[in-house]
Symmetry: C2
DNA sequence: CTTCATTTGTTCGTATGTATC
DNA sequence: CGATACATACGAACAAATGAA
């Protein structure tokens, strides 16, 4: 039963269209939902007619895309299809392009700002007249930590995540959070401290929340622009420094 | 009894997901740029001290993220880190959530529209006073095909891609194109024809280009909203149909 | 055009760690 | 604790594609 290659009527011709596609098709055809268990590797070998190694590579491929989630010693389930692969790719692109200049990071920041501005109307519409105590608590924590000269990275992330949560578009919220993750992951690797402006950024978050709950979209947009001003200024300073260094490159 | 692990203190404990990280670190440390060749699988086995199977899995993982690009019989090069993995993930999410309703597709369309609106100022600033003959040619082709009742999928994609090209943010352009791809890949799988409104959509593209070249950001935003009106209306109709079906589910 | 070396693609067999019952 | 099922990892062999001699 070795010779699976000599079959004349194409059994092996569809192997080039990777096993991962077959597994995706199997998930769709069996109506599996996120969290449901998919067949074990051995069962996939039988059903798809390929070896364990190929199944394993395919499952690994789907796992990196968060289409499936493997649990050691337990099994594999349909994943939640988060934007984690996007984050990983763009983080690497950001640190890879650091040699040239900070173009990749600048593009991420511009996109974050543009997205926040574009969703302004939906955000204020979703927050006007809403209690929103967790967001207010996050702002208080950020102000307290900034007053002590401490950073507030987890609070910052959760603030933007919860701010976008009630707008009725999970994808938009995930995308904003993904770009936040990229931003936060790239900045420290480039050696940019930027420890200043902590209080200013914390206050901007408070202004954003206040504008959203007041239903003032224009004030929301102004606060958002103010929120990005420190990092934008830092990027411009770094770009100028890179331009100066380019004028007299030591080689 | 192979025992290739001579180090007594747990060497094999972190082999799980670190091989891919090692390869990424190697790319960064050797200053490789997109298109440069990375060591062969055999060389990676030696340099990283792992088996070829592990190296293959790691390379496969990085290939699905478009961090590397594998060429059969030739070698592996640093990839261009496109947003293809994002497209693949969200397309699968879109067709997977088709059972419930068209929520995933609706979110993609909303995000496309929001992005186009958010980038309006940059687009008009980049296009005012620009010759832009290829875009005008694309609009003419779309109008001609729509007049004959034909679709114009490639022209539509290229139009949006070239419209965003000169704004000085490649990431934004790639993201808009990625969401276009998701949109275009999900719609036909759901069996939504939507063959009508072809002429209307083609004309909207012409209005978008005219507004951009005239420097009229407000007109650009109006034309963009008009451009998305047919698909938005179709999604609302499908949502109403799904709501009716939910009232009397046949089971 | 053919031959050949190089490199990735696929498969098998086996050993080991880990989680669940 | 032991037994079972599963994922993780290693190594060897062969197939297929590419490019150069």
């Amino acid at each position: 039963m070795n010779a699976p290659l000599d079959a004349p009527s194409g059994v092996a011709r569809m192997r080039r269209s990777t096993t991962a596609e077959e597994i995706k098709r199997l998930i769709l055809s069996t109506r599996l939902r996120p969290g449901d268990a998919i067949p074990t590797e051995a069962e996939l070998c039988q059903e798809l007619g390929v070896s364990r190694s190929s199944v394993r590579e395919a499952v690994r491929t789907l796992a990196t895309l968060d289409i499936v989630e493997v649990r050691h010693g337990h099994g594999t389930v349909v994943g939640r299809m988060s934007l984690a692969p996007l984050v990983e790719t763009l983080v690497f692109r950001g640190v890879l392009s650091a040699g040239d200049d900070l173009a990749a990071l600048r593009e991420v920041v511009e996109l974050r700002c543009a997205l926040d501005l574009a969703l302004a109307d939906r955000v204020v519409a979703a927050h006007v007249g809403r209690p929103g105590d967790p967001l207010a608590r996050l702002v208080k924590q950020m102000l307290a930590r900034a007053g002590n000269g401490q950073t507030f990275v987890p609070e910052d992330r959760q603030f933007h995540s919860e701010l976008l949560a009630p707008i009725g578009n999970r994808l938009a919220g995930q995308l904003v959070t993904a770009f936040w993750d990229i931003h936060a992951a790239v900045v420290p690797r480039l050696g940019l401290a930027g420890a200043a402006d902590l209080l200013r950024t914390a206050h901007a978050h408070g202004d954003i929340l206040a504008a959203a709950r007041a239903g003032d979209a224009d004030a929301y947009r102004r606060a958002t622009a103010e929120h990005y001003e420190p990092v934008t200024r830092m990027l411009e300073a770094a770009a100028r420094a890179a331009a100066r260094a380019e004028g007299a490159p030591a080689a």
